[in-house]
């Protein structure tokens, strides 16, 4: 490797909070050479984003750099001395030699300046261009990132751009001063999968054409596989393992890397259960002497009481911090492929069984804007003539991108969204025709699990109150002792200890909160559970735990699921049948295997092709 562009040396970042000092980054070191793509991978809280922010001098109080330094082309851009020369050099380098793009393109642009002006600002600052020349160049840059009609788009404001277009504009802005390194912090996480594919292709193309280095910060191993030559896996503020993507994604040596890979559901592979990493990441406030992963590690040995150093591998192909690495086959356990493990009678002969839910030609329209006194009301059709059935005991996956109407469809089953036309029947009863009382009764049998485990639980109620509330609301249980017993049963069912009942939601992690949400949904012993993106806010290892729990509960309680999601791989894993939605219509519906292996509709095909997969050719860029 030629001389490194970026050298990160012993970086330590901490945040001083009221509840103690959080040691977010605990001494990480790595180099990045020219024209290299490196992925920095880990789950939330592992310190990957803080590392990137620190590189750019974005760590503000209460955060501070505790130790370490960062060099750019051999000269300090960040150190603990905080001298003005370093500061000035960093500001010179930032935007000119190192550029950064962020996760949320919707909020990353100043809403009050045109796209062109915001790109031109970089050129004026770092390339000394005149306003006119900068505007011309901004137009060329928009063309480079494949924004159509750049000469018109350059004078538009951010709100006139879609999410994917904004991320393209941000990439254009980042590349304006022709940097050597682009730091991309989860650049596609907020985007739909087809848009994500376009952005990843664009980054790969630009990397190859411009000889750019990219530091890709992501939780998505598929993204790493598609774009990166090298990978560093972070856990609890430290680098656990680093090496070539081609090796690390297929023969990981650190048990955490192996666990992460095994917990990631694959698009083209079915299996009974996802592998999980049991337990929770450690509290970053606590000092550490042992290996951070030891409590969750199946390979732990006595030596792990002493934290391992990150040492170069014997063959020099990477670095590893582990006393007892994986030496086995590429995957911890080879998983069964496409076996009919979970193919019960229900999906084999649906005609023989009465469907639990039957949706016929469902349309949901919402009024838009103000209605004029005369003239027709303006409406938006969210769901446009959708028909499907859900059979007892099966899981129907409902997949679509944002705005496809999948959430509205789920809500219409409960009549939480208006049924404008068409019919929804639940167990033979017409949901749309029920009066308020009957609807209330009917809703007992249909419960919801929500996406965001943080905002869907009332922070002022205890877990017992949250889980027990449906019984009280429906007037089914008044005796406090019996209520309590029922709550504790439910908590046990979702794998939470009984003493969780008296605590408030803030005491729990995201995965635990989602278990509380599931317990609440089960309180009334429903027959159908509508789960709206139940795992998309969770980290990979936690997601696998919750998916497994949902499958166990289905087997034990004979539940029927409508599983609404955008993540095709998770749906592949949990669903028996799948319906693909686009613009309010179901474009394809059928058994999962059939839809995934032999998609008929072009939209389904493009969706499936857009998902970045770990098994894509690793380091795809090296060849192109």
């Amino acid at each position: 490797m030629s001389a490194p562009l970026l050298e990160v040396d012993g970086l330590e970042v901490e945040f001083l909070t009221r509840r103690g000092t959080v040691h977010a980054v605990r001494g990480i070191s790595f180099d990045l050479g020219p024209a290299t793509t490196m992925g920095l991978v880990g789950e939330s809280g592992c310190g990957k984003s803080v590392t990137a922010m620190a590189l750019m001098g974005l760590v503000d109080l209460p955060g501070r750099l505790k130790a370490g330094r960062v060099r750019w082309k051999g000269r300090d851009i960040l150190n603990t001395e905080g001298d003005p020369a370093t500061e000035a050099y960093r500001r010179e380098v930032c935007g000119r030699d190192i550029a950064m793009i962020f996760q949320d393109p919707m909020t990353s642009l100043d809403p009050l300046f045109t796209i062109g002006a915001q790109i031109a600002e970089v050129l004026e600052r770092h390339r000394g261009m005149s306003a006119n020349a900068a505007r011309t160049r901004a137009t060329e840059l928009l063309d480079l990132v494949q924004i159509p009609h750049p000469e018109d788009r350059v004078d538009q404001y951010p709100h006139e751009f879609s999410g994917g277009m904004r991320q393209r504009a941000l990439i254009a802005m980042a590349l304006a001063a022709e940097p050597d390194l682009l730091i991309a912090d989860e650049p596609t996480t907020a985007l739909d999968v087809t848009v994500q594919a376009g952005i990843l292709d664009l980054l790969a193309d630009l990397q190859a054409r411009l000889g750019l280095s990219i530091l890709m910060i992501t939780h998505d191993l598929g993204v790493v596989a598609r774009l990166c030559q090298r990978v560093a896996v972070m856990y609890a503020g430290e680098i656990a393992e680093e090496g070539a993507a081609s090796r690390l994604l297929h023969a990981p040596e650190h048990p955490y890397s192996a666990g992460l890979l095994a917990a990631t559901p694959r698009l083209m592979e079915s299996g009974d259960r996802l592998s999980t990493i049991e337990g929770q990441p450690p509290d970053l406030r606590l000092p550490r002497t042992a290996c951070a992963f030891r409590p969750r590690c199946a390979n732990a040995v006595a030596a792990c009481a002493q934290a391992p150093d990150l040492r170069p591998l014997p063959d020099g192909a990477g670095r590893l911090a582990c006393h007892n690495p994986m030496r086995a086959a590429p995957r911890a356990e080879p998983r069964p492929t496409a076996t009919a493990t979970a193919a019960p009678a229900r999906t084999q002969s649906p005609d023989a069984v009465q469907p639990l839910v039957r949706v016929e030609d469902l349309t949901v329209t919402f009024p838009v804007g103000k209605q004029r006194l005369f003239g027709p009301a303006r409406t938006m059709t969210a769901v446009d003539g959708v028909s499907f059935e859900i059979y007892p005991g099966e899981t129907l996956g409902l997949v679509g991108e944002s705005g496809s109407g999948k959430t509205t469809t789920g809500r219409a089953l409960l009549r939480a969204a208006p049924i404008s036309s068409g019919r929804v029947t639940f167990d033979g009863q017409d949901v749309g025709a029920q009066d308020a009382r009957a609807l209330r009764r009917l809703r007992r049998d249909m419960q919801l699990i929500f996406q965001d485990p943080y905002s869907s639980l009332n922070p002022r109620m205890t877990i017992a109150q949250i889980v027990g509330e449906p019984l009280i609301v429906h007037g089914l249980e008044r005796d406090p002792a019996r209520l309590r017993a029922r709550v504790e049963d439910l908590l046990g069912l979702v794998g939470l200890p009984a003493d969780a009942a008296d605590r408030h939601p803030h005491a729990f992690s995201g995965g635990q909160r989602q278990r509380v949400g599931i317990a609440r949904a089960l309180t009334l012993e429903p027959r159908l559970i509508i789960a709206d993106e139940p795992v998309s806010a969770l980290d990979v290892s936690i997601r696998a735990q919750v998916v497994n729990l949902m499958q166990d509960l289905q087997a034990r309680l004979g539940l029927t699921y409508l599983f609404i999601a955008h993540d095709l791989a998770v749906v592949r894993h949990i669903a028996d049948r799948v319906a693909i939605m686009q613009k309010g219509r179901i474009v394809e519906i059928g058994p999962v295997e059939q839809v995934y292996f032999d998609p008929q509709h072009p939209y389904t095909r493009s969706l499936l092709a857009s998902v970045p997969e770990i098994d894509d050719s690793p380091g795809a860029l090296t060849g192109t």
């Binding site: 001098g57 000119r96 962020f102 949320d104 909020t107 100043d110 809403p111 009050l112 970089v122 600052r125």
Partner: protein, 308 residues
């Protein structure tokens, strides 16, 4: 844009018409204007004559049409107290009030913006705590008392400034300060909190990563994003000053504006003058609101003027 302004103007016209109706009803139907305006010892003959002079003996419908057509050409009749056309008095007094309020709110904005921005740079820092403390003190002091305090200190004790009245530039300083300080303390809090929000916004991070100078990030980007709430609140302060606070401040400092005139009209039971002042204040408030809406659009391209 043009359609939006027309729509807003139309709304303004409705507001003004409502004011006309309310003022008409209040002065004619609530109590007997003749009894209110004439001394107690007036004879019945004098009362009848006065009633005829005001046209109050005619049918109410005729009175209303008459009243509206007079108001439409800004003819409010003759002041009972000064025995000359009301408009003449208003034209004479209004400039003093406008000068005072614009000077005061201008001063308030000029002080509040830098103070609020500096406080927002480091929330909970030393500067921020001092600014917040000063704001809280300013918010807690009654305005008339602040005015009296100024008179005692700057005029009587130090003798630097005149106690009251008008005539020289020095005369405006104390009333303007008295009007400005409470407005400023309210504005500082708004500037501070919106700037804290803006400086923590994602786009500010992006701007910093572009290598822009902190000054440009703060003064060009974040401040412009804070402009809509700041301008809206400054306008609101202007409206509040024009339509209320000047009454107090002008009385304390004997500043010869509309506020003082309104008090004098009340003391002399000059309903005709008072209703003209109320009506013209309403028009100024409507006009200012329209101006503020247009100004907000100038700052923020996302405000869709056709929408409302």
């Amino acid at each position: 844009m043009g359609r939006y302004i027309l729509a807003k103007l139309w709304q303004g016209v409705i507001v003004v018409l409502s004011v006309v109706v309310v003022v008409f009803i209040l002065t004619r139907l609530v109590g007997d204007p003749v009894r209110v305006m004439l001394p107690l010892e007036a004879t019945q003959e004098q009362r009848d004559q006065f009633e005829a002079q005001l046209g109050l003996d005619r049918p109410i419908g005729v009175q209303f049409v008459d009243y509206v057509s007079d108001v439409a050409v800004l003819d409010f009749g003759e002041s009972l107290w000064q025995r000359r056309p009301v408009m003449e008095i208003i034209v004479e007094r209004a400039p003093a009030t406008l000068l005072l309020t614009f000077a005061a709110i201008g001063l308030a904005v000029a002080l509040a913006v830098p103070l609020g921005v500096v406080a927002a740079l480091r929330p909970e820092g030393v500067v921020d705590r001092i600014v917040v403390l000063i704001s809280l003190i300013g918010l807690s002091i009654p305005q008339f008392w602040l005015g009296l305090l100024f008179i005692v200190f700057f005029a009587l004790t130090l003798g630097w400034l005149p106690t009251s009245g008008s005539g020289t530039p020095a005369h405006i300083i104390l009333p303007a300060l008295t009007l400005a300080i409470p407005a400023m303390t309210r504005l500082v809090m708004v500037v501070r909190s919106t700037m804290i929000d803006e400086l923590n916004a994602q786009y500010v991070r992006v701007l910093r990563v572009k290598g822009l100078s902190p000054w440009r990030v703060i003064a060009v980007h974040a401040l412009k994003n804070s402009a809509v709430p700041i301008v809206t609140l400054a306008g609101w302060e202007l409206i509040r000053a024009l339509s209320g606070y000047t009454v107090v401040v002008e009385s304390v400092f004997a500043w010869p504006g509309l506020g003082l005139t309104a008090i004098q009209a009340i003391e002399r039971q000059d309903l005709i003058l008072l209703q003209a002042i109320v009506f013209l204040t309403a028009i100024m408030v409507v006009a200012l609101n329209l101006l503020l809406d247009i100004l907000a659009k100038a700052f923020d391209p996302r405000i869709d003027l056709r929408a409302s």
